[in-house]
Amino acid sequence: MKKLINGTDTVVADALRGMAAAHPGLRVDIENRIVFRASGPRPGKVGLVSGGGSGHEPLHGGFVGYGMLDAACPGEVFTSPVPDQMIEATKGVDGGAGVLHIVKNYTGDVLNFQMAAELCEDEGVEVTSVLINDDVAVQDSLYTAGRRGTGATLFVEKIAGALAESGAPLSEVAQIATDVNARSRSFGVALSACTVPAAGKPTFELNDNEIELGIGIHGEPGRTRAPHAEAREIVRIAMDAINDDMPLSGETLVMVNGMGGTPLLEQYIVFAEVAAYLAEKGATPARSLVGNYVTSLEMQGFSVTVCRLTDELARLWDAPVETPGLRWGR
């Protein structure tokens, strides 16, 4: 394992020191592992808190700032944070209008956020949680833990964040978060595994001519292994999985997301194929992102996330945002 770290125990704390030094717009509580907006809570604004394991950067800490999150709780690498962090974050961002927890659907995230929410309610902070589960690679049935939350998390954080910024009440902010999630689907592909620092070796081994289809964002193997193929074919597999689950049409918000080790050059090649696929279906990438947004350490691969837009969602997507990972309009 070759990583730019000082030791496997200090990975998250050291990275938070870096975030603190790089971003004056953030207040990073390194001790308690919380990334806040430096400006503090705004009275009357719904607070947005998210969090999850580290290793997905810029998610979530990189999306704290005007128009998106109010705080993020980073856990250990690929390990959901603990309730203490979430409670501290929730109390720290409460401007009196309640707090939305944006929770990716993983057993650990769900259980820890659930415990935190209960304790926050006990302390008089109103909390609503929204569960993100956009990954079509997982069957949503009684026989699984349900669909994972992946790329749609960013869409929800951006769009719900914009609505919260406008002063909307918690119920509306939660509703739009739920809507965005419901209108979004993702599918991920890995060309290589990644190595959790504390584990010291890759989570799986792939031959030179194999890829993993239907991966999540925790370095886990996918649903199936397949022969490596042209970008065009791989994209078709991913997009078919999405389209089968949610027929694509009209204006969409599309993200081609690098998993951490994929050159932007290749991500653009993937995006070209995604755009061609959408055109085939009579859909358009009316808004788009190409880059590393929801990563799995240094994994090579990509995920594609599509959200069927409405005028309101497009307007909220376009609204100003000022975070380390996403910025426009200010």
Partner: protein, 207 residues
């Protein structure tokens, strides 16, 4: 069984987790996200510190402290789940009782099993730690009349068998369920760590 007995158990667990850390992580790498060993090791290291900082007076207080510490320090799925197991154990035993009868311990373990099943909604056969915990609790309850040493040995055996029996299962809960049929053929890391905890109980009881 008094506080120091259970403290010795927890110490045995902490040592075993440290020893088996890489093994547990590798099990998790195969069908999860390669952190189970690191998670539990971080948790039990914190538990050790917490117990040393303010040694609890009763078994009930001890288990509540262990459980809360796991919840506060582990994260992931196993933090709340194992945290709940120990907290429920402590809550059921109560903060007052200084000496715990074997029957009361078995009943408290059963309550802990129910609590973790309520929280995680897993049933036996879902390929989770419940697959080791449930048979262990049953074996301990059944073996009670033969005394603690026998009962603990039976529980340890049952937990280990339960863990091994997860190998051919397809996971229906937790991260491994994402793999669908590919989860078959691997031991569940949480079941493995539960087996290790009952082996530690047997070791503590054999002293």
């Amino acid at each position: 069984m008094d506080t120091s007995f259970f403290a010795a158990w927890i110490e045995e667990i902490a040592t075993a987790v440290r020893d088996q850390k890489d093994h547990l992580t590798q099990l998790d790498a195969a069908i999860g996200d390669a952190d189970h060993g690191a998670n539990l090791d971080r948790g039990f290291a914190a538990v050790r510190e917490a117990l040393a900082a303010s040694p609890p007076e009763t078994p009930g207080a001890l288990f509540v402290l262990v459980g809360s510490t796991l919840i506060r320090k582990v994260g992931g799925a196993s933090g709340p789940l194992y945290g709940t197991v120990f907290r429920q154990l402590g809550k059921t035993l109560g903060a007052e009782t200084a000496d715990v009868a074997l029957g009361d311990f078995a009943a408290a373990l059963d309550a802990a099993l129910s609590a973790v099943q309520k929280l995680g909604a897993a049933v036996e056969g879902d390929k989770t730690l419940v697959d080791a915990l449930a048979p262990a609790v049953r074996a301990l309850t059944e073996g009670m009349q033969e005394g603690p040493e026998e009962a603990f040995a039976a529980a340890a055996r049952a937990a280990e068998e339960g863990a091994q029996a997860t190998v051919p299962l397809q996971a229906r809960k937790g991260r491994a369920s994402y793999l669908g049929p590919r989860s078959v053929g691997h031991e569940d890391p949480g079941a493995a760590s539960t087996a290790l905890m009952f082996a530690a109980l047997q070791a503590a009881g054999g002293r």
